[in-house]
Symmetry: C2
Subunit: 206 residues, 2 copies
Amino acid sequence: MLVDDHPLLRKGVAQLIELEDNLQVIAEASNGEEAIQKALQSQPDLIMLDLNMKGLNGVETLKSFKQADIGSKVIMFTVSDAEADVLQALRAGVDGYILKDSEPEELIEHINKAVQGELVISAPLTQILAKAFRPKVEKESILDTLTNREQQILRYISQGDSNKIIARKLDIAESTVKVHVKNLLKKINMRSRIEAALFVVENKLF
Amino acid sequence: MLVDDHPLLRKGVAQLIELEDNLQVIAEASNGEEAIQKALQSQPDLIMLDLNMKGLNGVETLKSFKQADIGSKVIMFTVSDAEADVLQALRAGVDGYILKDSEPEELIEHINKAVQGELVISAPLTQILAKAFRPKVEKESILDTLTNREQQILRYISQGDSNKIIARKLDIAESTVKVHVKNLLKKINMRSRIEAALFVVENKLF
DNA sequence: TCACAGCTACTACTTTAGTGGTAGTTTTAC
DNA sequence: GTAAAACTACCACTAAAGTAGTAGCTGTGA
């Protein structure tokens, strides 16, 4: 099934797909709401979903698919190589993210793989994905303000350890752990260990 | 600079690199400790670092570089396409992750790009990176055991909100929030809101 | 209609967490 | 060799978090 608000693009892709023996376009939709209805009716194996649409956007439409228990594979098919778009789509659970400027053969290959359950991603997105895993350089300066002991304790906090457990692991008194926690929270300007823990994991410190 | 515990491989790569006018191997090392010393001496623009070495492994060596304020770019050059290895390296801040079975031209191209500050990643790793962003399907069942209200509150917890703040946001009593927190912690079998918050973000629920 | 799940709210209590202050010891830096 | 920073530890206190039990209200499904 093709979902895109540009009829011409749908036609182009449809023609390309119909050239393949094992592929067939069984439905089309021009927006998210329509897509949900048609998907429920026609139960496609695979849905090619545009990211930028009026009304429900691609990610929102994808989430609606899941809620409606539509089991079709979903490939995001878009021009956007923006990091935020790619990550959002992946977090929402897409089965593929393909750029519209892909070569036709590549597109067909990706479609076939996706139907078989493989996660397909356009090659130019590799760097974008890798970047998202790297620690942000500026954030390291925040760690620099902490002493070794404080960093160590922050690491334990970000693993969910209580003060008592940290004290045991470091073989120091719980009261000492509290001192360190107090000092490090003040340094990084946060009010609770939870904020600190979430900050650590979200910014991939350590 | 080349760092690898196989002399033959170093020779091969060195020969390849020396063919290029703008590239030159100015140092070699066969293990992490040696690498740190030689890097401090010769200040290379780029370090090609093997991941699997005796003594300090690649990631540990990379961390030592950072601690020693060695500003060289570092490319992890390895046979491993294991998700854990790739992610660890990226989290430690490598500037590239290249598989040893890359084509020579590709290798040279990646080296040049890395020197210019670009993050270079071997194409076959795209899927591995993308997978790491997708929610794990099995984990959704844990959410299913929670009521709507409990899910809602878990979401706030994973944003670092206190019971008091959650109560305000939902316009219910703090005592009620506590009840929900108690119940949801029991359901997901955790002992504190921190564990729950970390679980949520690590598994990309919501 | 009746049982049950879900949401609400309270009391009373224990356990952690966080704040502020004091203070001794050890390392590090100049 | 001395001062500063780091690490240790305690006390006393307040504030959150978490536990246990009771209970009323609402909507849903049998």
